[in-house]
Symmetry: C2
Subunit: 205 residues, 2 copies
């Protein structure tokens, strides 16, 4: 039995405790003969997977009224993993979701590092800097690199901290954002944890 | 005597109390025979203006040690206009600058509306919404349009409000951001005010 979290760029597998990724462009899901419990935000992959009986979509086992219709299923499963706190999933987009007493309390979407770098560069070549994740968040900047880094990171920080909750960091850039949120719990397995919880609840494993 | 604030898209003139704009692409500064006191962030226009003796660059009259080297001169002149507060200049970029006791206290740069809309759209077509400036900032969103609007606007709001200072709004999108910062003072003439102050100080008018 495998778990798989499918995004726009890769199939992210968990085989017991071993995790690995396969590119959505080259991987053929028909290769796998054992049962795979998956979630998928990628419409193209979702369509392909319909033909395989051993690929089981876990999203149908979530109570839809607890979330909203267009919410990414990866966000939903991260929320299912925790009882209380705020989840920052830092990937191509950064999603920030709040869970209170086991219930989803809303969330927002912020650009990921690459997207936001491009944004500043497109506004002006004078803003073409990489973000400084070591910047002093307590000081308004007096140089260009810190001025965009603060604009990107401190605004997010101020909003997240205003909720005064435990913070969980996941996603490909979790470690980078841990420099900004040093008290956060990094948990790259958060979505898989949510999947396991749902499987237990729905008694499908 | 005219005042002129030159950006990347237009020459913004103030003639006594009348203000008007000319496109940087079609306007010929040689047309004007009277004295023009200007500031300019546009390197190309700056180069052209060197040949005209009646165009007088005010940036040389600012004390450079009060600011940082790569800081846009428009930001500097907005800061010169106020004694105390936080200035949000909402244009193609949003600059946020802090002034305390007449001294620049640092600032940051955030993407403007158009740039940030494109960012979300480029991350995913599912995020191609216009921003909802009427969104409830006290509630974590439960729909996609508000999820990106909150990501863009509430993060900025939380950071700006954390400074607990009077807010001055200027720039082309000042009125839109006034919906988010209802207690802010809108002052579209802020940069011209700064220019007048510097002219008085330097005794050049």
């Amino acid at each position: 039995m495998l778990l798989c979290d499918i995004g726009n760029t890769s199939y992210h597998f968990l085989d017991d405790t071993k995790e690995y990724k396969k590119s959505v462009h080259s991987f053929n899901p028909g290769e796998i003969k054992e049962r795979v419990f998956y979630i998928c935000v990628n419409p193209h992959a979702k369509n392909i997977l319909k033909q395989y009986e051993n690929w089981i979509d876990l999203s149908r086992h979530v109570e839809p009224t607890h979330y909203y219709k267009t919410m990414g299923v990866d966000r939903i499963f991260a929320c299912e993993a925790i009882g209380e706190g705020i989840i920052i999933d830092a990937g191509s987009a950064i999603t920030v979701d709040l869970v209170k007493g086991g219930i989803f309390g809303g969330g927002f979407i912020y650009p990921g590092i690459k997207a936001m770098s491009e944004t500043y560069r497109n506004i002006s070549p004078a803003l073409d800097y990489s973000f400084n994740f070591e910047l002093d968040l307590d000081k308004m900047p007096k140089n260009s690199q810190d001025a965009i880094s603060y604009g990107y990171l401190k605004t997010l920080f101020s909003e997240v901290m205003s909720h005064n909750m435990d913070i969980f960091l996941t996603g490909g850039d979790a470690k980078k954002f841990a420099q900004i949120f040093p008290h956060a719990t990094i948990d790259e397995m958060l979505i898989f944890k949510g999947m396991k919880k749902i499987m237990k609840k729905a008694d499908v494993c």
